[in-house]
């Protein structure tokens, strides 16, 4: 069979049925490539596999060598032991960790529980507010209104805390008046 566009033999045959109408396309190697159609390749399968494995293991190898600047452990060491070296590892390996955490935590990708409330703590509140605002926008866009309401509440309480701590003693606990009774 010849190519639909030239006289060369067709190597790609595509059959599609749309609205009950059958459509056949036959393309030569050059025209198939041009059309972006998946090509049967002349490469032997083992060569293909080797390339595939190499490209992945090269990537995995590079990831495994990635190092946390604070404590010096590599991602490979974490994969072996299951424990990270320091809190900064979460940032250093964020890209590699995110899918692992998602799997281990039943699909969760973000914290939703309590956060430290201490004024003057090391928590970067402006950063937290920016982050939460971004999440709020995303939640609204995705029509996750329940989640959006919770994020809005957290932002409001952060605002209150910020303005409260601005006038208060930075070393003093600025709890939100949450019941601490035994």
């Amino acid at each position: 069979m010849k190519c639909d566009f030239c006289d060369k033999p067709a190597v790609v045959h595509e059959v599609t049925v749309k609205n009950g109408v059958k459509k056949e396309i036959h393309l030569c190697e050059a025209h198939a490539q041009e059309a972006g159609v998946a090509m049967p390749t002349h490469q032997p399968i083992n060569q293909l596999l080797t390339q595939f494995v190499m490209s992945h293991s090269a990537k995995a190898g590079a990831a495994a060598k990635r190092k946390c600047a604070s404590c010096g452990i590599t991602f490979g060491q974490f994969r072996q032991s299951g424990t990270l070296g320091c809190p900064d590892c979460y940032e250093a390996f964020e890209k590699q960790l995110a899918p692992l955490i998602e799997r281990a935590q039943n699909g969760a990708t973000h914290h939703r529980g309590k956060s430290p409330r201490r004024a003057g703590s090391s928590i970067d509140r402006p950063h937290l507010i920016r982050q939460l605002t971004k999440e709020l926008d995303q939640a609204v866009a995705a029509e996750q209104y329940e989640r959006a309401a919770k994020l809005r509440d957290r932002l409001r309480s952060l605002d209150t805390e910020l303005s409260a701590s601005a006038g208060g003693d930075p070393g003093v606990h600025q709890g939100k008046g949450k019941a601490n009774s035994p």
Binding site: S70, I73, T83, L84, C86, Y90, L100, I101, H110, H111
Partner: protein
């Protein structure tokens, strides 16, 4: 080391106590500016112990806190703390600077240099998780007022192992499921628990066997849900199901297999009352069956609190404390049998 005669979580007055022996909540926290325990130097670990000691003792968490430097404590004392569920086996056996603070009523313990810098836990008899979650939150806030925790807006409280990330909260209940075990339905619970992302462990937590039909069930997911959401799911969706499974299995035993049930219960009691040598595992199994019998009113004159207490007193370090000496395995079995025989006479 001195303790009141029994762990306070062993009393039988908690809600659902026929199935739920005790419940526990723990929070994992790390101090900002330090590597995690496994990566820290011994000097840093010592610094963390010192810091924690100061913070814990200043925080007025309980009328009285007992501070135990575990690197200095004897092996028997460390084992005693494990048997009372106040420290983990991991912490008892680690060979690094480490400590534990225990409230004098033994409900609160704060482990220092376990897998995370701080692991605080509260334990209570029966099912009172909502109360414990509220109380541990107050403990957390008291400590947090004096120390900066490692925290990220995206990941929450940062923990050495990502499986504790986020809230760092672990809710556990110690369940007594002898009827499900007798009717071979315990696997159903295990499967259901797995589907619900729960861990089912043995009597001493991670890596331990389910001695005497006691199973510790705890949440696995710590990220993406608030503490309250995790608690509500556990309390409303998960626990009532398992408790109902066990109750059903108990009813079935009474209705269809009363003779088998009575045989198991009375045979167990007879062995406990007459044996001259008793292994720990055997004793747990027999006590478990008698406990079932008492709850189903198949035996008279056996006090449930006594059975609960014996479950603790037959453990190796408690027996050694009782006789005031370290004992070889053979002698331990003999002493165990004597203690049980006298208690049940």
């Amino acid at each position: 080391m001195e303790f009141a005669s029994q762990g306070p979580w062993l009393s039988n007055d908690g809600p659902e106590s026929d199935v739920v022996m005790s419940c526990r909540v723990r929070l994992a926290r790390n101090v900002a500016g330090f590597p995690f325990v496994v990566r820290a130097s011994d000097a840093q670990r010592r610094e963390l112990v010192q810091l924690a000691r100061q913070v814990v003792l200043e925080s007025n968490l309980s009328k009285e806190m007992i501070w135990v430097d575990l690197a200095e404590a004897t092996a028997r004392d460390r084992q005693l703390l494990v048997e009372r569920h106040l420290i983990s086996r991991h912490l008892a056996e680690a060979d690094i600077p480490r400590a534990v603070a225990v409230s004098n009523d033994e409900t609160l313990s704060i482990m220092i240099n376990e897998e995370d810098h701080l692991r605080m836990q509260l334990i209570a008899p029966g099912l009172r998780l909502d109360d414990l979650v509220q109380r541990i939150d107050a403990v957390d806030e008291a400590l947090e007022a004096k120390v900066d925790y490692a925290f990220s807006p995206r990941w929450g409280y940062l923990t050495a192992c990502p499986t504790n990330l986020g809230t760092g909260i672990r809710l556990s209940v110690m369940m007594h499921l002898p009827a499900l075990k007798l009717s071979n339905e315990i696997e159903r619970v295990r499967r259901a628990a797995k589907d619900l992302h729960l861990a089912v462990r043995g009597y001493y937590g991670e890596g331990s066997e389910s001695a005497g039909d006691f199973y510790q069930i705890s949440n696995q997911v710590t990220l993406g849900r608030s503490e309250q959401e995790i608690l509500q799911e556990f309390l409303e969706r998960i626990l009532p199901q398992i408790i109902e499974y066990e109750h059903q299995a108990r009813r079935m035993l009474v209705e269809r297999n009363a003779t088998l049930l009575d045989d198991r219960v009375h045979r167990s009691l007879a062995v406990l009352r007459n044996a001259r040598l008793l292994g720990a595992e055997e004793a747990m199994k027999l006590l478990s069956r008698v406990r079932l019998g008492v709850h189903l009113r198949r035996v008279d004159g056996v006090d449930i609190d006594l059975i609960n207490r014996l479950l603790l007193q037959i453990q190796p370090a408690h027996l050694q404390l009782h006789v005031g000496a370290d004992l070889a395995a053979d002698r331990l079995r003999e002493v165990r049998a004597t203690v049980v025989r006298k208690a049940l006479a």
